[in-house]
């Protein structure tokens, strides 16, 4: 559903960062920031928690490792043990390489999948034209007006002060 937004654009990331800091100091919630590349010190400025995605990697990786080792053990020792060059049925050392590779494979795929789910990225998804230039050279800061208590003019002032290039209010889909 369309939202009621206050959109400020910047040409320079440093100004953006300054704006973000000031806005938050004024306890105004920032809806999101859009940048052509990951500007650093922003996460700290926006107070974003470190992502928990690495846990997915760990979980899936470990389970892949265990499952592979188990299945190799099962097939070679229980399901159909054969005398292969007089080697012991359970040649654990020989089972390591495959287990390792599968750990990496599953870990990686799971992580990326998790990212796409969490960030709602999927083929064909439309990104509202609202912040078009953010993928080019513009840095965009968006504040969402939730209720009347929100004092737009105050926010405008602040943003202008921080050197926003343009500021507009608009009801749009994101």
């Amino acid at each position: 559903m369309p939202k009621n937004l206050l959109i400020a654009t910047f040409s320079d990331p440093d100004r953006l960062i300054r704006a973000v800091r000031n806005i938050r100091r004024k306890h105004i919630r920032i809806y999101d920031v859009y940048t052509p590349y990951p500007v650093h010190d922003l996460d700290e400025a926006m107070g974003i928690r470190r992502s928990r995605l690495p846990w997915v990697t760990l979980m899936m990786g470990v389970s892949a490792l265990v499952l592979t080792l188990l299945s190799e053990f099962y097939t070679a020792v229980f399901d159909w043990p054969l005398n292969v060059g007089g080697k012991p049925d359970n040649s654990t050392l020989a089972f390591i390489p495959i287990s390792f590779e599968l750990t990496v494979l599953v870990g990686a795929l799971a992580t990326v999948a998790a990212l796409f789910l969490r960030a709602e990225l999927y083929p064909g998804k439309r990104s509202g034209g609202t912040v078009k230039d953010a993928t080019n050279d513009t840095f965009v800061l968006i504040i969402r007006r939730r209720d009347a208590s929100f004092d737009a003019s105050k926010a405008r002032l602040l943003l202008e002060h921080c050197g926003a290039e343009s500021i507009e209010e608009k009801v749009a889909e994101l």
């Binding site: 052509p36 399901d79 990686a108 960030a119 993928t135 050279d137």
Partner: protein, 467 residues
């Protein structure tokens, strides 16, 4: 990946002037323009010429492989004594090439090497295409390619009968396919933001749709950026051990055998070093060509070439050291078969391959000691070609020279390549270059958003130092 992750602080910057990896001071807009140009403009004549050549070779490959599968492996020069020759040589060669890409995109990322930004995209692309070429050979070298699926563990009516998890060939299958998948994912992941850029630059509806699908609706939201960077580091962390493991496993095809010249514990290190060596050779070749043909000198600068030359030299020397060690162990161990093998390498019927290999892999790197050479594009180009030639012959020496004279002299033989052998080798290059040329034509061969980040960082660094 933006170098800003390197947590650079002005204080450091004062200590030394940070190197500039982007010439001039292009605006963000400008960067996108430059990098997107090859995609939006019509390709130049040089591109078409290269493509024509590569594509012919690819067609030739198609024909040869069809003939091979129709007739049987007999059309190659193999025999009872030499069961592997060009097929596995090419396989190892191409897998090796791949490694440089992953090294650049993953390991250098973890080591926070800012100079990788402008080359990692194409290096990764190279990895993927090289692994495709590599994957071709294990498939077609089989006596019965149509039964290749026997290698995979799948439930079946034969017992069920599973593959032999002790066999290095099975390890290979898993290593290569993992390597391919992870590289592909990592490569694509890195391209998503650029796809968004291209989508928003799109001139016509078609482009727009295509890029929209590829960009997965990326809109530059910073919350996504934050997760994205974490994931990138994680994948890099997973890809890094692959660089080491894949070629180690390939080397075990030989190291776990009993054949003199194969049965050596030094192989994993030796092969990994060799892989990176040859890989960087190929990266140099490719980038030197593309920066000329695609006019990207501004982003792929002399400094990049210089860095890569240094890595090449370093790994080249590890390889040389491995050669020496092999001979030493053969002499020191005093095993009659091992000893004979290495004498045979040096003075046997295939000695010329051995000396070619030494020339290319031991002597060539030495010229890279000189800055003059490292800064001379032409010289680097020649060196990089030599590196590739040398590394192909290294694999040939390891495989064929070891096999053709093993334990029982009665079973000694020779391998002579047939037209099909050579045709398929050439064809594999056709496949590789066709893929690469299409890549630089239709995908951003430099990570736009990373360059943007880098330029910002460099501007910051400049400011800091002037202050």
């Amino acid at each position: 990946m933006s170098p800003a992750t390197t947590g650079h602080h002005p204080t450091e910057a004062q200590a030394l002037l940070p190197p500039k990896y982007i010439d001039g001071d292009p605006s963000l807009q400008q960067i996108a323009e430059d990098i997107a140009r090859p995609l939006e403009a019509q390709p130049g004549r040089s591109w078409w010429i290269c493509f024509a050549l590569a594509f012919t070779a690819l067609l030739n490959l198609g024909g040869m492989v069809t003939y091979l599968v129709a007739k049987g492996i007999g059309v190659w020069g193999l025999n009872n004594s030499v069961g592997w020759a060009f097929d596995i040589t090419n396989f190892v060669f191409w897998v090796g090439i791949g490694h440089a890409g992953t090294l650049i995109s993953a390991i250098l990322l973890l080591f926070r090497q800012t100079w990788r930004t402008s080359i990692n995209r194409s290096a990764e692309a190279m990895t993927i295409f090289a692994v495709i070429c590599a994957g071709l050979f294990p498939a077609i070298h089989l006596g019965r390619p149509w039964d290749a699926f026997f290698i995979f563990p799948y439930p079946n009516q034969r017992g069920p009968l599973w593959p032999n998890f002790r066999s290095p060939l099975v390890w290979d299958v898993f290593a290569i396919s993992t390597y391919f998948t992870v590289s592909l994912v990592f490569w694509y992941l890195g391209m998503v933001p650029d796809m968004a850029t291209l989508r928003d630059r799109a001139k016509n509806r078609f482009q727009e749709t295509v890029y929209r699908w590829l960009s997965l609706g990326w809109n530059g939201s910073y919350r996504t950026w934050a997760r994205y960077e974490v994931v990138s580091v994680v994948i890099a962390g997973l890809a890094a051990p692959l660089v080491v493991s894949v070629h180690s496993i390939v080397s075990m095809d030989f190291a776990t055998s009993v054949i003199p010249g194969w049965h050596a514990t030094i192989f994993p290190l030796y092969f990994v070093a060799g892989a990176i060596y040859s890989g960087f050779g190929m990266v140099l070749t490719l980038l030197i060509i593309t920066r000329q043909t695609m006019h990207l000198e501004r982003y792929i600068t002399a400094q990049h070439l210089d860095k890569m030359a240094k890595v090449t030299m370093f790994t080249g020397m590890i390889v040389s050291y491995a050669y020496a060690t092999e001979f030493f162990t053969a002499w020191y161990r005093g095993d009659v078969y091992e000893k004979y093998h290495f004498i045979n390498r040096a003075i046997g019927p295939y000695a010329f391959c051995f000396y070619l290999m030494v020339l290319c892999n031991v002597l060539t790197p030495q010229v890279l000691w000189f800055k003059k050479v490292r800064r001379n594009v032409a010289a680097l180009f020649i060196a990089s070609i030599l590196v590739n030639v040398g590394m192909w012959f290294e694999r040939f020496v390891i495989i064929v020279v070891s096999l053709h004279r093993t334990f029982l002299p009665s079973a000694w033989g020779m391998f002579y390549p047939t037209r099909i052998d050579i045709g398929i080798l050439v064809g594999s290059f056709g496949l590789f270059f066709t893929c690469f040329l299409l890549f630089i034509r239709f995908l951003p061969m430099i990570a736009i958003w990373e360059i943007k980040g880098a330029s910002h960082f460099e501007r910051a660094a400049q400011k800091a130092t002037h202050a």
